[in-house]
């Protein structure tokens, strides 16, 4: 691999990382809005920006890194408690976040420079003067927050034999800040016993540096095991060197953080009306970390107290009940006892009860999560909760294909077994082959299930962008709305998750833009000022349901009828004949938009029809309920996995075909007299509906049909929904419902739109899967 390719790869992997960080930033900002002084949250934001800056520079995104630097500064000030984050700063940061995203994608970062500059200027107004000048000079010496450190370094006597020059390490320290170096020469023996190849020197360095201790420690990375190294921040009490106090201090840190986190959990759980599994799990995790630390530190009392709470919570989590007032009271009592215990420990240790320095023992994200006051903010994924690796999707697809092929290949075993038995009279061997085949078959199915599960992704990634969006729309339109997210852990096939994002954006936008009324209008209508939009995902059988519900103005069937007639989409007669439920469906017609005026947010006339067809492409359905004045609810039903879907197996002209089940409205055996010929097309009438009929056998026949179709007495007819309305497809026979794994047919057949792909049936035969849109 050459350098260019290497860097390209680097950039790609950073883009992935940054996308996550930016999303994280988005949701953190919204939380900050309600808790601008939450230290854990501020730290999380700082870290995210810091990583974007650092890794970005490494990956070659220089402009982006430089820009991120300014945002980083703002939060550095904030987390040092030198300024308080205001909504304006949050706006700016969100703007900056969007720019960072753009800088990540663009090839010409220079074009964004003017916009970036504006944001930087705006940010600079909030920064203290000293920081600004320091940032400009990049001197590193006077930047806000330099700390005094004392570094002691005594290399191993044999250090030269590892090719290390200790003086160069001392020089590295100098480069980190303002250093006063004192060489300690007491170790040098009398000349007679001095070995010139040994190192007898040690160094004391008083270092004033902005860099964290970790950075200073890094200087000694290669020699830390065999050298004597001490790095102390000057404000730290010298007592921390005491062998007993060190671990106790760190235990007290863990204790303080845990107790603080528990406060948050207790606050969140107080008066809970529903089970809050996320909160309880995080609560449990914190307690368990705390307990492990207590055991390690020889604090059986604390450990025992924690054990009681852990038991309580475990029961609550496993039985999925809400935290009742009684349980809450018990937990709170345990918490108070612990607090008292830790307090006395702290007194005994003479460390004082001041705020402890941050210890990395507890992931900050969990601590921050604990303090989330309402369920409106998306719960953060605990960083330590699961170990994940990133895999190229291509590799996953390859694995998927292989697993699929294995499923086909296993079909050879029963045939082989049969031949051995029947043709060669080897029934014993035949049975063994069959057993082996069954075994492989099981493994193949397990493998396939496992591969499918890899592709499952929580819908969280899509959901987490909405709080920001709703907030933005509300700010622009001077509305008030709260977005409730539920079931973010619901898993869907990765492709579905990716493709559902756009339709959902549209629907959530609509809900706020068209649904939620202005606070004044709401007050007049006797509703709370602030509207409520709920986005909810859950599993139901093999489907995933996503609901978008708003308590806004609802849709007016009368107005929809009027609009549709005005735009010439339906006739006035048809409109008059429609009941309200059917009229609501008009919203899905292309070219109909109900917004009184076009807004920046939505209402460009492409809308619900696109949404519905996008969802249909994912083999999903969309339904709509709405009550004027009360709100609307849109329900999307999606198959959880794209790979396995259901189909109707039919036979035509001796060939097997599969209709995707979601496209089949119904199957009927239609009497011949219900089919009429008009011009050159056959039409069927069924329950006052007229639709064209075609014969599948003819449709895929290589010979053009001559003359009229002679219909049988009774015609097996699949009524299929297409993007141009329903059609009837006549087949020879229905063979039943099947589970299918649709495999694309490959590039050479891309132009054939009549089929979605092919599938292998249980008995190893191949059937083509019909794309209904390709039939008309």
């Amino acid at each position: 691999m050459d350098i260019a390719a290497l860097q390209l790869k680097l950039r790609d992997s950073f883009r992935l990382e940054a996308a996550d960080l930016l999303a994280e930033l988005d949701s953190s900002m919204l939380e900050l809005e309600s808790r601008p002084q939450d230290a854990a949250l501020l730290n999380r934001v700082f870290r995210a920006i810091h990583t974007i800056k650092g890794s970005g520079a490494t990956a070659g995104f220089k402009e982006m890194a430089a820009f991120a630097h300014h945002v980083e500064e703002l939060f550095d000030e904030a987390r040092m408690e030198r300024l308080t984050i205001t909504p304006v700063m949050i706006d700016l940061t969100l703007q900056a976040k969007d720019l960072l995203g753009q800088l990540l994608e663009t090839d010409q970062p220079a074009t964004l420079a003017p916009v970036c500059h504006e944001v930087v200027e705006a940010l600079a107004r909030f920064l203290p003067k000293t920081t600004q000048t320091a940032a400009c000079s990049q001197a590193g010496d006077d930047v806000a927050g330099p700390q005094r450190h004392h570094v002691f370094f005594k290399p191993h006597a044999q250090v030269f034999f590892s090719g290390t020059d200790p003086v160069s390490l001392v020089d590295e320290l100098r480069a980190l800040g303002e250093a006063t170096v004192t060489a300690r020469t007491e170790g040098i023996p009398p000349l007679a016993s001095l070995n010139p190849k040994h190192c007898y020197l040690a160094w004391d360095v008083a270092l004033v540096s902005v860099h964290p201790v970790a950075k200073i420690k890094e200087v000694f990375l290669f020699v830390e095991d065999e050298s004597e190294i001490r790095i102390e921040r000057e404000f730290e009490a010298p007592a921390t060197e005491d062998a007993d106090n060190g671990p106790l201090a760190s235990f007290l840190n863990i204790a303080a953080q845990s107790l603080q986190a528990v406060e948050g959990f207790l606050a969140r759980l107080r008066g809970a009306t529903e089970p809050d599994a996320v909160c309880c799990r995080n609560y449990l995790r914190i307690l368990k970390t705390f307990q492990a630390a207590a055991n390690q530190q020889g604090q059986p009392e604390s450990a025992a107290l924690l054990g009681e709470d852990i038991l309580l919570l475990e029961v609550a989590v496993s039985s999925k009940v809400r935290i009742s007032d009684q349980i809450h009271e018990d937990l709170a009592a345990g918490h108070r006892k612990l607090e008292a215990l830790i307090q006395s420990l702290r007194r005994d240790s003479r460390l004082g009860a001041g705020p402890p320095p941050a210890a990395p023992a507890i992931p900050a994200a969990i601590v921050a999560d604990a303090a989330v006051p309402t369920s409106a903010a998306p719960p953060k994924e605990a960083p330590r909760a699961r170990a994940t690796i990133r895999v190229d999707q291509e590799k996953l697809d390859r694995l998927m294909r292989s697993a699929g092929e294995l499923l086909v290949a296993r079909n050879a075993f029963p045939l082989l077994a049969k031949r051995l038995t029947v043709e060669h009279g080897l029934s014993g061997v035949g049975k063994e082959v069959k057993d082996a085949g069954d075994h492989i078959s099981h493994i193949a199915e397990d493998l396939q299930a496992a591969v499918l599960s890899i592709r499952m992704t929580p819908i969280r990634t899509v959901f987490q962008r909405f709080p920001r969006m709703v907030r933005d729309i509300c700010r622009v339109q001077a509305k008030e709305a709260e977005l409730l997210l539920e079931g973010e852990d619901t898993e869907l096939d990765k492709t579905v998750v990716e493709q559902i994002a756009d339709p959902l954006v549209h629907l959530v936008r609509n809900a706020v833009d068209h649904g939620i009324e202005s606070p004044e209008a709401r007050t007049r209508a006797g509703k709370p000022r602030s509207g409520k939009v709920t986005l909810k995902a859950y599993n139901k059988a093999t489907n995933v349901i996503i609901e978008i519900h708003d308590d806004g103005g609802g849709m007016d069937p009368a107005r929809l009828r009027r609009k549709a007639v005005e735009k010439g989409l339906i006739t006035p007669e048809a409109a008059a004949a429609m009941d309200d439920r059917v009229a609501l469906e008009l919203i899905f017609l292309p070219g109909l938009t109900t917004a009184e005026k076009l807004t920046d947010i939505s209402g460009r006339g492409v809308g619900m029809d696109v949404v519905r067809s996008n969802i249909r492409q994912l083999h999903g359905t969309t339904t709509l309920e709405s009550q004027l004045g009360r709100g609307s609810k849109i329900t999307i039903t999606l198959p959880a996995s794209l790979m396995v879907s259901k189909g109707v197996l039919v036979q035509a002209n001796g060939e097997d075909y599969v209709f995707p089940i979601e496209s089949v409205v119904q199957t009927v055996r239609l009497p011949r007299d219900r089919i009429h010929r008009h011009e050159r097309t056959d039409f069927a009438t069924l329950r006052n509906e007229v639709f064209p009929v075609l014969r599948l056998a003819d449709h895929f026949s290589s010979q053009p049909r001559t003359g009229e179709i002679v219909w049988a007495e009774e015609v097996p007819l699949a009524i299929v929904e297409t993007n141009r309305g329903n059609i009837g497809v006549a087949v020879d026979s229905f063979l039943g419902q099947v589970e299918v794994i649709v495999k694309p047919m490959g590039r050479d057949f891309e132009s054939i739109t009549a089929f979605q792909g092919a599938t292998i049936l249980g008995d190893g035969r191949i059937a083509l899967v019909i794309n209904p849109a390709g039939l008309v």
Partner: protein, 116 residues
Amino acid sequence: MIVDDSPTMRQMVNFTLLEAGYHVIEAQDGLDALTKGSAQKIDLFISDLNMPNLDGIQLIRRLRATPQYEFTPMVLLTTESQKEKKMEGKAAGATGWIVKPFQVEQLLAVVKKVCP
């Protein structure tokens, strides 16, 4: 000198260091490195761990035993899973290590660190 049996790896290190102003000699394994190292004075060895003929740790041990390279910096290329190898390397006299896969900047940082 970069010692690695993978030509791609050698090229990558060579190219990167060349850009940064270093002169790089390539050796394809430990033995090759010993031969080339005895012909001229090398200021820094960067060596892979697993190589045919003579592996990285043996190479460092052999080099350290020569007066010429007693104090010369030698950096091992390791992978994350070879933690115990890191210690073994240190015992043999390695100056430091670079964990693969590494970024260009990391390589340059380590080189600058051990060979200022």
